[in-house]
């Protein structure tokens, strides 16, 4: 049988008796029925008023879940608003708000709007986190590796650090890792990952694209220069971009970019991944891909740039914005000569 934690038990016992009605915080109507009706009717001004009124409240709720991460809290507010907008199976928007109104009008469950909103929002956050965790199940192939390997996997694929940042993080520990060891471990991780998981990695690549501008692009033929980056999350350039006014734009560019990468021929895609993400030299990529000549690597990279460029153009992404988001690729490919 289930036993509630003491605090929980005490809490629901309080609610077993008749409770006096609670009051809404200052500035909030108990039941803003008029506003909700206008929102449901599709009035844009009403939705704007709704967002302006409840944005701060939603942010406060999100704050607890985001563990003081401003960006994540903002993201969660959008998650909540999207959840409120969500249509029912018949395609009518705001089905949650409709349910709230129904409950007032038909069932006589007269909760305050903020109480209801807090409860709904928590469910939306929980689903969102679950969904995110679901995408983060450790692949079977990685489970079998040792602790350090799994740690590298986490840093690179989950926390979205670039490989040099991951190395920087591990090098700063009590038992620092030699760079050669780091590289061979990374090698092992990549060879263990199946094609399916590699696609998840492409998606991660997109999330941290701008962070790849760290340091200089690899020199073809030579050993790749690894710059030990400042491992603090706030030092990551992609975070700075996320915070800037362009974060929404950057997000969209990256989304289109993911599409573009998936549309590349398989060989081209692999070369791009090995060279741009794993920062392997042209010669290393040649060996892994089994090409006879190194020039083939540069030809594939040039092809990738052409295709990505025209894809972005076709999707109507402004050239300047695209360049800002994928500037690293431009620089990388220029250097190799197309």
């Amino acid at each position: 049988m289930w036993h509630a934690p003491t605090s929980c038990r005490a809490f629901y016992l309080r609610y077993n008796g008749l409770m006096p009605p609670q009051k809404s915080p200052k500035g909030f109507k108990d039941r803003p029925i008029g506003l909700i009706r206008r929102v449901i009717a599709g009035e844009q001004a009403a939705w704007e008023e709704f967002v302006n009124t409840y944005c701060g409240f939603l942010y406060s709720l999100a704050w607890r879940y985001a563990r003081r991460d401003v960006d994540l809290a903002s993201e969660l507010v959008l998650v909540a608003l999207e959840g409120l907008r969500k249509p029912d199976t018949g395609g009518r928007e705001f089905y949650r708000l409709r349910k709230y109104l129904d409950s007032l009008e038909r069932f006589g469950a007269r909760s305050r709007f903020v109480t209801w909103l807090a409860l709904v929002t928590r469910n939306l956050f929980r689903d969102w986190f679950r969904d995110r965790e679901g995408r983060r199940i450790i692949p079977k192939e990685i489970e079998g590796l040792d602790l350090v390997d799994r740690k590298i996997f986490r840093l690179v694929f989950w926390e979205g650090l670039s490989e040099s940042e991951a190395f920087g993080t591990l090098a700063g520990q009590k038992e620092p890792l030699a760079f050669g060891d780091f590289q061979s471990r990374l090698e092992r991780i990549y060879t263990k990952l199946s094609e399916k998981n590699l696609l998840t990695i492409y998606q991660d690549l997109l999330r941290r694209l701008p962070s790849l501008t760290l340091g200089s692009p690899p020199v073809p033929g030579g050993l790749c220069p690894v710059q030990v980056a400042d491992p603090r999350p706030e030092a990551r350039p992609d975070r700075a971009l996320e915070r800037s006014e362009d974060r929404a734009i950057a997000k969209e560019v990256r989304r289109v970019f993911l599409e573009a990468i998936l549309a590349l021929p398989r060989v081209t895609r692999q070369v791009l991944l090995l060279h741009a993400v794993r920062q392997l030299s042209g010669e290393e990529v040649r060996i892994i891909m089994g090409f006879h000549k190194r020039q083939r690597v540069y030809d594939e990279l040039a092809k990738a740039r052409r295709r990505l460029g025209s894809f972005l153009k076709k999707e109507g992404v402004d050239e300047e914005k695209a360049r800002r988001s994928i500037g690293w690729l431009d620089g990388l490919l220029d250097k190799n000569g197309s």
Binding site: A4, S7, C8, R9, F11, Y12, Y15, N16, L18, M19, P20, P21, Q22, P25, V51, N52, C55, F57, Y59, S60, L61, W63, R64, V70, S74, V77, L78, L81, K99, D102, S103, F107, G108, A109, R110, S111, R112, V114, T115, W116, A118, L119, V120, T121, N123, L199, Q203, E245, R247, A248, E252, V253, R255, V256, L258, L262, A263, E315, G316, V317
Partner: protein, 87 residues
């Protein structure tokens, strides 16, 4: 009885559920660990609201920014790239 709806549970918290329905739901909540937990977390959430900082000034504007449809990539099944939908 199955767990009450979000709307009913919120009304339970506010002490605004009247009549026989209220009694039934309260009985349920007292016996159901899931609902009790939901109420507990709801309580904590509402308690923490006044302690949270104010959101970034542009958050509402950002949330209201129109979504540019032309940029939104069609749904891609990440796990089978070789069967992408053709446009």
């Amino acid at each position: 009885m199955t767990c009450p709806s979000t709307e009913e549970l919120a009304a339970v918290y506010d002490g605004n559920l009247k009549g026989r329905q209220a009694l039934k739901i309260r009985d349920h909540v007292a016996a159901c660990p899931r609902c009790a937990h939901e109420l507990h977390v709801l309580h904590q959430s509402l308690q923490s609201v006044p302690k949270a900082p104010t959101p970034p000034g542009d958050l509402a504007a950002w949330a209201l920014r129109p979504r540019q449809k032309s940029w939104i990539a069609p749904q891609v099944n990440l796990f089978s790239p070789h069967r992408r939908p053709t446009k």
